[in-house]
Amino acid sequence: MKLANPRPEALTEFPNIYCPGCGHGLAHRLVAEVIDELGVRERTVGVAPVGCAVFAYDYWNFDVTEAPHGRTPCVATGIKRVLPDRVVFSYQGDGDLASIGMGEIIHTANRGENLTVVFINNANYGMTGGQLAPTTPLGMKTTTTPAGRSESDGRPIRIPELLNALDAPVYLDRQSLHDPVHIRRAKASLKKAFQAQLDDKGFSLVELLSACPSNWAMTPPDAMKWIGTELVKTFPLGIVRDRT
């Protein structure tokens, strides 16, 4: 008898507090699997966001620091600049990266910092109870757009495409965590992004469409389906830039 899915070493035993069906559980595991496969757990330093994943340091079995909201890429850059041989990544949600942290992510990408950024897009602000995010699709109801997102709230922002306007980034991809095939593809993309850092290639960002069943008011399987049929219309999957 053989265990086909041993627990990644880069994950702690601690059960996560995410809602049932939340994509964070998947994303954390994928990052951990990639780090184990690349054999870099002992030289990895992660930077956790402010958002549901603020407690990521409880779930990952490597050094992780908190950061003020949105400044996650700055903290990651500070670490990487003084410890260039460590594997440093930031893990951020819609608010942390695309709203309050928009300035920081653009400049970090623009400087071509040799970092990996994992961007979890679940189309709302999860931790604070489901408000409008820069990534909320038009028409979607949130607690701050009770009538649905309208043009006056701005249209949703596509981050890899936005960063694609800069010269420096080397790898910009969007994948999804909504079914087994896409979860496997997401892992492959994360591995490329981390490998790019190991090869000193420069800045990489992988956006992952992720379910938020609680705030979307859907069952987890329905939330997954909704990503695959609806959310991908606003956020098309696939490579935006690959210069690795």
């Binding site: 008898m1 086909a4 899915n5 627990r7 059960p15 049932p20 079914d179 087994p180």
Partner: protein, 84 residues
Amino acid sequence: MVKKVGKVEVEFQRCKACGLCVHYCPQGCFALGTELNHLGAAPVRFQEEPVCTACGICAVVCPDLALQVWKLQDAKPVAAKTLR
């Protein structure tokens, strides 16, 4: 008599009954249970009757690492055929 290839153990206290394994298992090996764990969720139950092929899809979609997928033997799954 079908040789059993795979088996899944559900970690009762970790499962949040999100239902993703129920939804994605190609063989339909899971069903939501009725007994509550300490989270207040009714964890899934792995059913012996549909044949588990240890494909691992349930483990891929489980956000909580609540499933342990065991390969019972090195035999290929019953449905596999070698293509020429």
